[in-house]
Symmetry: C2
Amino acid sequence: MQEHDISTGRRITACVLIIGNEILSGRTQDTNLNHLAKTLGAWGIQVTEARTIPDIPETIITTVNEVRVRFDYVFTTGGIGPTHDDITAECIAEAFDTALVQSEDIAERIRVRPAPEDVMAARLRMARIPQGAELIDNPTGGPQGFRMDNVFVMAGIPLVMQAMLSSLEHVLERGDIVRSCSVTAHLGESQIADALGAIQRRYPSVDIGSYPFFRNDRYGTSLVLRGTDANVLLDAQEEVKKAITAAGVEPEDVTGVE
Amino acid sequence: MQEHDISTGRRITACVLIIGNEILSGRTQDTNLNHLAKTLGAWGIQVTEARTIPDIPETIITTVNEVRVRFDYVFTTGGIGPTHDDITAECIAEAFDTALVQSEDIAERIRVRPAPEDVMAARLRMARIPQGAELIDNPTGGPQGFRMDNVFVMAGIPLVMQAMLSSLEHVLERGDIVRSCSVTAHLGESQIADALGAIQRRYPSVDIGSYPFFRNDRYGTSLVLRGTDANVLLDAQEEVKKAITAAGVEPEDVTGVE
């Protein structure tokens, strides 16, 4: 039992906080984590933990304070609209022990579109941000996200979250990109477990994952190699291919390093 | 900003731990949380937090020890196969400060199917469980899950996890079931935010969620009401319908309590 630290160079980590009762009740299938993991990964930021938490102030505040010191970046999704259950901004302000203030920048954009007094008051809830926060661009024109120190607060609606995230492409610091390649073996995991373990020990900077599947009436295992050095990945992949051949089947679906 | 404790009767909580680098890298879209949330919810067990963590022993051990004292139940998925990256069993043993032992019960089942020595040795990795653990039935015949105190260790492959979970149906204690009903309004959230907030204040035992959407070129908001008392839910839903009508549109997709 050992940890493989696959980052040989500069490692930048992120924690994703999915805020929303609808995910925890099972009503909504989350897809934001997957999008964040892929996008940030391609930018050299490794999502190394994710938490899904309910719309409960104390939980949000405690969790934000716990993870913002442990990870380089924290990305939250959910709870920034105009209704009573949109409490992320006030929780972030409380986590940072700062005031929740009205951003005149956001308020101005909101006032452009006229509305009855009560509707305008609700809309202006979306202008409240923690003192000192910077705005995150929202190309969709919906609610505004913001950044407070290393915490990025974004919308829960996937398309809106994705638009906000893309506006951060040139804002975030980048570390080494974790790349991957894979190969499939149509045999049981146990048949190559021994050889795989030995390859893993010889390549401590590569993370070798074995993912069994059952598709089209056939058992198989996807072997995924991850690491920051493409050359080392290709060497390790070659060894995995040899191990598959030695176990009596042909390596299939061999992918190049991505 | 206030917390709505919607459990008026017996509350049983669960934390889901998704263990797996493949989810955090974005290679695999997790669906286990959603299935667990829905199934456990129907049994009166509320998933109130979920964490996705990497295949790193220290992280797994620390996380398990943190959550097993905070929630009534913990359900883990992933990492119980025969390869080097399957480290959940040894981590659970370490978390509980107990030995990892070979279950003769599991070993016997594994030995039924003959194999070369190295393949058998790999398979027998799946017979290792923490001392004192009880087996979880696996109707698919794959790797064996186990229960250690209030921690249930299950497979990561969705179909296998689902089979294991269904075998727990009559094992787990049950609390009040959180039920829900909903109604859709084709208007912007801000237009009913005020009225919704007032209804939420009048119904503290109901959790009212507002989820905006954009479908078929129309904006709208799904209003979801959750609580343990079906009568109270129906009363609150009636008020939400009135608020929608007062805002100038017809309530749509009104669902009964489920």
